[in-house]
C-alpha cells in the first residue's frame, strides 16, 4: 500500500479542509485552537501535573479499604476472570487472528507493560499483572489452537462458567464458605463500582423485560401497574430515589431486615434501571409484527412459549442498542453513590482529595476517572455494535452462505 501523500491524497485533503475560502478559514482557526489546547494540555500533563496522587493511592482507587490480608481473593478472582475471558475468546475465534484481535492483543500487552510502570507498582504486583495478562493471552492462543479437540458436549456447557464465576466472585468478594467475611462498607473504588453496576445490570434486565411485557399486556391490571411503575420511576431523579432508599427503607422494613447501605443502593439502582430498560424493550416489542405472535399461536404454541421462542428473540435484537445504552448510563450513574456517602470510584476520589497531602490535585484525579469511565463505556458501546452485526439476520445468512 502506498502510504505517502499522493496527488489524490492532496486533492482529498484539499476538498475536505480547503474547499472554499470560508472552509479554509474555519480549518485554520480550528487547527490553531487545537494546537494551542493540545500543547497546553501536554505541557500540563508532562511538567506541571503531579501524578503522585494516583501512584500513592492506586490500591485505594482499585479496591477501597478492602483488608490488605484478604486481597489475594481479588487477585484470584481477576486471574479467574482473565482465564475465562481467554478461553471464551479463543473458542469463539479458533485459529484465526483477525485484525481486531491483533489490535486487542497489542493493546492488552501494552497496557500490562505500561500501566504498572506508570503507577510505579512494586515488582511483586507488577509480576502479578504480567502473569494475569500472559494467562489471558496464552489461553486465547491455546484454546484457539486446540479448542476443537474438546468434546462437543464440553463445549456446549462452557458458557455456564460465566454465571458460576459470577457467583464464585461474589463469594470471594464478600466472604462465606469458610472465607472471612468482608463487610460491604469496606468495599470501595473500582471494585464497588463494578460490583454495583454488574449486579444492577444483571437484575434490571429480566425485571425490565417483565415490565415491558406487562405494559403491552392485554390484562388491564398488569398494564396499568407497569405503566404506573415505569412512569413513577422515570419521573424522579435518581438521586432522590437513592436518598429515599437510604432514608425510608429503614422505616418500611421491619428492624434488621433492611439491607446494608451498599446493598440498598444496589437495589435502588436495579429498580431504577429496570424502568428504563423496560422502555427500551417495549420499543423492540413494538417492532415485531403482530403476525408473528398470531402465527406462533396458530401453530399451537401457548402464549409464554410463543413469547420466549418467537417474539422476544426478535424484539430483544431490535432493542439491543437502546438496552446497552441504558447499561452504559447505569455504569455512569454509579458515580451518584458518592453523593450518599458510599466510596465508589468518585467517592474514593473525594476522600483522597480531602487528604491535606493531595489538596488541589483535582485535575489529575478527575482526568484519571474520566479516562477510566470513558474506556469502560466506549468498550460497552463497541461490544454492543459488534453483537448487533453478529445478530443481524442479513449478515448472519451472508456469513453462513
Amino acid at each position: 500500500m502506498e502510504r505517502s501523500v499522493t496527488p489524490a491524497g492532496w486533492q482529498r485533503l484539499r476538498r475536505e479542509l480547503f474547499a472554499s475560502r470560508t472552509d479554509g478559514l474555519i480549518t485554520l482557526v480550528l487547527l490553531g485552537a487545537l494546537l494551542a489546547l493540545g500543547g497546553g494540555f501536554l505541557r500540563w500533563a508532562l511538567f506541571q501535573a503531579e501524578w503522585a496522587v494516583v501512584r500513592v493511592n492506586s490500591t485505594l482507587f482499585a479496591v477501597g479499604r478492602y483488608p490488605l490480608d484478604q486481597q489475594w481473593r481479588l487477585w484470584l478472582l481477576t486471574a479467574l476472570l482473565a482465564a475465562a475471558t481467554g478461553l471464551t475468546w479463543g473458542l469463539l475465534r479458533g485459529r484465526s487472528w483477525p485484525r481486531n484481535d491483533q489490535l486487542a492483543t497489542v493493546l492488552l500487552a501494552g497496557l500490562a507493560l505500561a500501566a504498572p510502570l506508570f503507577l510505579q507498582l512494586s515488582l511483586a504486583i507488577q509480576a502479578r499483572w504480567w502473569g494475569i495478562t500472559a494467562l489471558l493471552l496464552g489461553l486465547r492462543w491455546g484454546a484457539g489452537r486446540w479448542g476443537d479437540r474438546l468434546p462437543q458436549g464440553w463445549r456446549r456447557w462452557l458458557p455456564l462458567q460465566w454465571p458460576l464465576l459470577y457467583l464464585l466472585g461474589m463469594v470471594l468478594i464478600s466472604g462465606g464458605l469458610g472465607l472471612m467475611a468482608v463487610r460491604p462498607s469496606d468495599w470501595g473504588g473500582l471494585l464497588l463500582t463494578l460490583v454495583q453496576s454488574s449486579f444492577a445490570i444483571l437484575l434490571c434486565f429480566p425485571l425490565g423485560v417483565a415490565l415491558a411485557l406487562g405494559r403491552r399486556s392485554e390484562l388491564p391490571l398488569l398494564r396499568w401497574g407497569s405503566v404506573l411503575y415505569i412512569e413513577f420511576i422515570r419521573g424522579a431523579p435518581l438521586i432522590t430515589l437513592l436518598f429515599l432508599g437510604q432514608n425510608i427503607l429503614g422505616f418500611v422494613l421491619p428492624g434488621g431486615l433492611a439491607p446494608d447501605r451498599v446493598w440498598r443502593a444496589a437495589w435502588v439502582l436495579t429498580f431504577f434501571a429496570a424502568a428504563y430498560v423496560a422502555e427500551a424493550v417495549r420499543s423492540g416489542l413494538a417492532a415485531v409484527p403482530r403476525g408473528q405472535m398470531e402465527a406462533a399461536r396458530a401453530l399451537g404454541l401457548p402464549v409464554p412459549q410463543a413469547l420466549i421462542h418467537v417474539v422476544l428473540p426478535q424484539a430483544l435484537r431490535v432493542a439491543l442498542p437502546a438496552t446497552v445504552g441504558q447499561f452504559i448510563t447505569l455504569l455512569q450513574d454509579t458515580t451518584l453513590l458518592s453523593l450518599i456517602g458510599l466510596l465508589d470510584l468518585l467517592g474514593v476520589a473525594r476522600t483522597v482529595m480531602a487528604n491535606p497531602a493531595f489538596l488541589g490535585k483535582n485535575a489529575e484525579v478527575y482526568l484519571l476517572l474520566a479516562v477510566l469511565f470513558w474506556c469502560c463505556c466506549a468498550a460497552l458501546g463497541l461490544g454492543s455494535r459488534a453483537l448487533e452485526t453478529r445478530l443481524n439476520p442479513n449478515t448472519l445468512s451472508a456469513a453462513r452462505a
Binding site: 487545537l34 398488569l222 455512569q332 451518584l336 468518585l346 478527575y366 474520566a370
Partner: protein
C-alpha cells in the same frame, strides 16, 4: 370420533381461557396488595414509634438555615416552605437557562456534523463521543473544582468584552437603559469586580456542566433529524439557488423539526432531572435544600413526597410544552 358413552372433555377451570386472565390478575393484585400493606403497616408503626406521623404543620416552623444564593427573597428566619420554594426557584432558574444553552449548543454541533469542512465534522463527532461516555457528575465536579474554582481574582481575572470570569463570580455587562442603548460593563473597584449582572461560580459550573453534557445528546438528536431529511431536498434547494445556510434554515430544519422535537422532549426532561446533581458543585437547588430540611426536621416521608411531586410536575410541564410545540411543527395534511 367420540363414541357414544364417552364423557365430553371438560376443561378444568385453571386452564379455562375465560378464567386465566382473572386468575393471573387476581394473583398479581393479591401479591402487590400484601407487599404494599406490609410495607405501609411497618411505615406507620415505625413512624408512630418515632413520633413522626404524617403531618404538614412543621412546614410553618422557621427553617433556621441559610441558602447561599436565591432568586426569591429568603433568610434563615423564614419557614421551611419558603426555603423549599426558594430551592425550587433556583432549580427552575438553572433548568430554564440550561435548556436554552443546551439547545443552542446542540443545534450548533448537530448541524456542524453536516459541514463541508472535514475537520469541523470530525471535531463535532469527537465532542459527542467524549462527553457521552463520561459521567455527568464527574463532569460537574470537574467544571467546579478544576475550572471555576481555579479562576484568578481581581486584576488577574479572565476578561472578555462584556464578561469577566473571576473566582468571586461571573460578571456580565448589561444595558442600564435599554431605550438609549447605554451599556455598563464589568469594572474593577478596589480589587473587587462590579457589574450589573453577577452569577456565582457554583451556578456557572452547574450551568456549564449541564449545557455541555445535554448539548452532546441534543446534537445527536439534531443530527438524526437532519439526516432524516432526504438528500433530494438539499439538491432541489441548491438547484433553486439557495445558499447552504439558507437551505438549512428554510428547507431542511422545518422538516427535520418533526423528528427532532420528540427527541428534544426526553433530553429536556433528563436535563431537568439532572439538575438535581447541583449539590455536587455547591449550588442550592431544590434537592439540596430538601436534604438539609430532612436532616434538620427528620421528616423523611413528607420531604420525599414533596421532592418526588415537584420533579414529577416539572417533567409533566416540560412534556406538555413540548407536546404543544410538536403539534405546531407536525405536517398538517389537508
Amino acid at each position: 370420533m367420540a363414541a357414544a358413552g364417552t364423557t365430553p372433555v371438560v376443561t378444568p377451570w385453571w386452564r379455562d381461557r375465560r378464567w386465566i386472565p382473572w386468575i393471573v390478575q387476581g394473583g398479581v393484585a393479591l401479591a402487590v396488595l400484601v407487599v404494599v400493606a406490609f410495607l405501609l403497616g411497618n411505615l406507620v408503626r415505625n413512624l408512630t414509634a418515632a413520633g413522626l406521623l404524617l403531618s404538614w404543620r412543621w412546614l410553618g416552623n422557621p427553617a433556621g438555615f441559610d441558602i447561599s444564593e436565591t432568586v426569591l427573597p429568603y433568610d434563615a428566619s423564614l419557614p421551611y416552605w419558603r426555603a423549599l420554594l426558594a430551592g425550587l426557584a433556583n432549580t427552575l432558574r438553572v433548568v430554564v437557562t440550561g435548556l436554552v444553552g443546551a439547545t443552542l449548543l446542540g443545534t450548533l454541533v448537530g448541524t456542524a456534523s453536516f459541514s463541508s469542512n472535514g475537520l469541523l465534522r470530525r471535531l463535532a463527532r469527537v465532542y459527542v463521543e467524549v462527553i457521552r461516555n463520561i459521567p455527568l457528575l464527574l463532569q460537574l465536579v470537574f467544571w467546579y473544582f478544576v475550572v471555576f474554582l481555579a479562576l484568578p481574582n481581581g486584576r488577574d481575572a479572565l476578561q472578555l468584552p462584556g464578561l469577566v470570569l473571576a473566582r468571586s463570580g461571573l460578571y456580565l455587562g448589561w444595558f442600564t437603559d435599554p431605550l438609549h442603548l447605554s451599556w455598563a460593563g464589568p469594572h474593577l473597584e478596589g480589587g473587587v469586580w462590579h457589574a450589573p449582572l453577577r452569577l456565582t461560580v457554583e451556578f456557572g459550573a452547574l450551568l456549564t456542566g449541564l449545557v455541555v453534557y445535554t448539548g452532546a445528546f441534543i446534537a445527536e438528536v439534531v443530527r438524526g433529524g437532519v439526516a432524516s431529511v432526504p438528500q433530494g431536498q438539499w439538491e432541489a434547494a441548491r438547484s433553486l439557488g439557495f445558499m447552504p445556510l439558507q437551505t438549512l434554515r428554510r428547507i431542511v430544519l422545518p422538516q427535520a423539526l418533526r423528528v427532532i422535537v420528540p427527541g428534544l422532549n426526553s433530553q429536556y426532561i433528563s436535563l431537568a432531572k439532572n439538575s438535581s446533581l447541583a449539590v455536587a458543585c455547591g449550588y442550592s437547588d431544590l434537592y439540596s435544600v430538601a436534604e438539609t430540611t430532612l436532616n434538620q426536621s427528620g421528616r423523611a416521608v413528607e420531604v420525599m413526597l414533596i421532592l418526588l411531586g415537584a420533579y414529577l410536575v416539572l417533567d409533566l410541564l416540560i412534556s406538555a410544552l413540548m407536546n404543544g410545540l410538536n403539534g405546531l411543527v407536525q405536517l398538517r395534511e389537508r
